[in-house]
Symmetry: C2
């Protein structure tokens, strides 16, 4: 039994279902109001589905629909066998996008000291489906449509792909990172058909220097968007089962004449991370005196 017991007297407004609106939508609105009013506090358990069904004079499937909607909005967390709980307000860590002149750090380089930054590599459930392929191991393969679009090539083009899952040591929040480099810039392809194989010219640690040598001075573009997790992403990143988008941060490395050479992306649960944009104050004493959002 939950600690509190709602009675119709304490409930605001009238009974739902009177108008043409669907009953479950009415209940959704009632409950959402109760949440924003603070009638239910973060972390608190809601009454059981059966109790809510009795209270709203409807059936359990209808209440479940309303709860599912609020969970999809990120307001509730439903836990099998335990109950339904009010989600805590997200407390997000910053991922900084920094542009400037100076030393660079490739997150996916073996030289990058992730532990010093508070992270550790982790294995994830979907590793089981990737027989023998280890994190950060360079993998040469045909890129998908997504990567092809970014790199400006056809989707059969060969890229060197590296990836890793990291977990923040303290918060245990997880992210996924990967890097896609056009294969022809860091090695050569020999042979045809099944015999086709890749001979690297450089090791991952030296990719940046190698590319800068051939195509520099380099340019960079960074974008941020969001999408809903699909497939194994929720388990791999240990996300809430519903109601949490994935923040996708992409950094594209361009040659001096604007051709894409490589891109690195970070996938992070949007309830635990946000991106922030800054610029290098070290190289110039004058701080920026404006920040424009252009559409």
């Amino acid at each position: 039994m939950t600690s509190h017991n709602r009675t119709p007297d304490t409930e605001p407004d009238t009974q739902p279902g009177t108008k043409g609106r669907a009953v479950w939508r009415e209940i959704t609105d009632f409950m959402r109001n109760d949440l924003s009013d603070g009638y239910y506090q973060p972390g608190q358990a809601l009454p059981g589905e059966s109790q809510l069904a009795d209270f709203y004079r409807t059936s359990r499937p209808t209440v479940r629909k309303a709860i599912a909607q609020l969970a999809a909005e990120g307001l509730l967390t439903v836990s099998h066998g335990r109950g339904t709980f009010v989600r805590h307000r997200p407390d997000r860590r910053l991922i900084t996008i920094e542009h400037g002149n100076g030393p660079r750090a490739d997150l996916l380089s073996p030289a990058y000291d992730l532990r010093a930054a508070g992270w550790e590599p982790v294995s994830v459930p979907s590793d089981a489906a990737r027989e023998g392929i280890e994190h950060l191991q360079p993998l040469t393969h045909s890129c998908g449509v997504e990567a092809a679009g970014i790199l400006g090539v056809r989707s059969s083009h060969t890229v060197v792909y590296r990836f890793a899952f990291w977990q923040h040591t303290k918060t245990r929040a997880r992210i996924y990172l990967d890097s896609n480099t056009l294969a022809e810039h860091v090695g050569t392809l020999e042979g045809q058909g099944i015999d086709r194989h890749f001979i690297p010219d450089a090791e991952p640690v030296d990719y940046y220097a190698h590319l800068a040598d051939k195509h520099g001075p380099l340019n960079w573009t960074t974008t941020v968007h969001a999408e809903m997790p699909t497939g194994d992403t929720i388990e791999d990143l240990r996300m809430e089962p519903t109601g949490t988008p994935v923040l996708v941060i992409r950094r594209v490395m361009l040659s001096h004449d604007g051709r894409p050479l490589e891109f690195t992306e970070i996938f992070a649960p949007a309830d635990r991370f946000e991106a922030t944009s800054s610029h290098d104050h070290g190289s110039s004493n004058a701080a920026a005196d404006y920040a424009v959002l252009s559409l």
Copy 2:
């Protein structure tokens, strides 16, 4: 009748439900594979729910659950009376976050020429619930917990709030913008209790100059995160009913000693917009030679 007719022969793999996994999850995976394999093309209608139920030898509610999941992942769009369709791959417009030295533009200033930038103001369904409050009209009120957290004040603090809904003239994509200014910096509060009222020192057009005079040189911080739409947001921004996050871009104006004075935010459907970070090349001839993602 849809143009194609799936038969068990053309279906990959085996029948679902044999293992411990839920049937609807199995079906979700089957269908997701069919989508990524290109068996179903973007824009194409899927077979009806009853047909799918027959095909997978299950009931319509179970198929509906699978379809609902894929819609929540942003892969399908369900349309009452018409059918279920494969969503097109998102084509996103850029919202540029630009830092540098030079002239600034306040998106919510009456002086901003939105039409020249390809936008027009629109009224939205939820206007009906905001009796008499017009877009861009400065409104003095107690700020909520969200704004209070950003501005570093308590949630009863008085702020000047302005907002607007814009629609892109060509794509008809919509965004919501608002600005929250700490009231004491642009006017004075007089009286107590019900008689309490706000006397402005400056007009919205002059807010920037006014604040820069008193607190400059100003600093700026910009962040990007994502959340799921709630309440009227889906209708107001004409978003897909499910499976689309909202991208939230916030720009905080800080006094020279780091106190928040104002913040502007943009809410944009994440399937139609992405944020990109750049810096002012005009003020310095040297392009940035690196872009770091710091965690």
